[in-house]
Subunit: 199 residues, 2 copies
């Protein structure tokens, strides 16, 4: 019943997180009725994401044209304090809380069937090298900012073991975050408390 262009759009966009077929349908009609220059603006915005890759130091997103991400490139960020997070969006939530001025290590989404997969191991190894090379004479701290739930506890313990023998303080976010919750959705005040109460 729909022109193939609409059907294609619905098929492609209804696979995206939080967009079901119904929302994709409405979006398609809305977008189709926009004037050409606005459609092109939105196309360009989407196409821009192609020009992203990951920081070779902390694995947060960055433009391909930049050598490092904004945090690793910023001399005002404290390289002695590193927060280990799962996802880019966790970085976003932590930055909004405005309480943390260190740097990051984004280890990638965790899989319950394989708590530390190849990607996680590679990225943590990179962090280890970074600490050994850069922080050999200064104390340093790693804040494990994973969700305060059983799985997060388990993965944190694995990470701790992996850093055995390296002189670095390892902490976790304080239990300001409701147990069972998700870092990405924590409110800013809770996140601030969690940075204060880390132990």
């Amino acid at each position: 019943m729909f022109p193939p262009e609409i059907q294609n759009f619905i098929d492609a966009f209804s696979k995206l997180p939080s967009i079901g077929p119904r929302m994709a349908t409405r979006l398609s009609f809305f977008l189709a009725s926009l004037p050409d220059h606005e459609q092109i603006q939105i196309q360009e915005a989407l196409k821009g994401l192609e020009r992203l890759d990951r920081c070779p130091r902390c694995f947060f997103v960055k433009s391909r044209t930049q050598k490092l991400c904004v945090f690793c490139a910023d001399p005002k960020r404290d390289a002695h304090i590193v927060a280990i997070v799962e996802k880019d969006t966790d970085v976003f939530s932590i930055e909004k809380a405005g309480k943390f001025f260190g740097q990051y290590c984004v280890i990638g989404e965790l899989d319950h069937r394989n708590p530390l997969g190849d990607i996680q191991k590679q990225r943590l190894q990179k962090l280890k090298n970074r600490i050994i090379e850069e922080l050999n004479e200064s104390p340093g701290e790693i804040i494990i900012a994973l969700g305060p739930n059983t799985f997060g506890d388990f993965v944190s313990e694995l990470i701790r073991q992996g850093f055995k023998g390296i002189s670095v303080k390892i902490t976790r976010l304080g239990r300001g975050i409701p147990t069972g919750g998700d870092i990405e959705f924590a409110d800013e005040e809770t996140l601030r408390n969690a940075f204060d109460g880390r132990r």
Copy 2:
């Protein structure tokens, strides 16, 4: 804090209906992390919408390469019965109900401050010509499928007046649809009842 590509995406996509800044942020990271070929597939799906315009006869969306929309081009659809709807998505809901086999006139989204704007007037004029030219010897029916609320009643009355002197039966959808509701969100059963109970 974000690469400009992410910020651009958030700015452009958070203006779309039902997508706020939070969802746009999550979408951007999700899309950025897709492999290139999947990103391109989604880009193409979006770009395809550019190839759409409106049927010159009923104003429903169609591919630019087609002369008429699927309904106007289909000889099995009854050209003597025309449903006047506001939006493309209303057509979608009505088709899903599987009860209506006539054709359409999509008059475009109504503005409460200007119930029949220029676009609506042009499209209704076109419908009038269509009825005079095509249905001069047969009875014909116009079903006004606007929302069953005060505003819809008002606009329906304006439309009725506009068709005075033309020998065509004018009906509205039966009150199966909850008063104050929206055609787009009516369930299929309610829409079927409404087609039965028109008067």
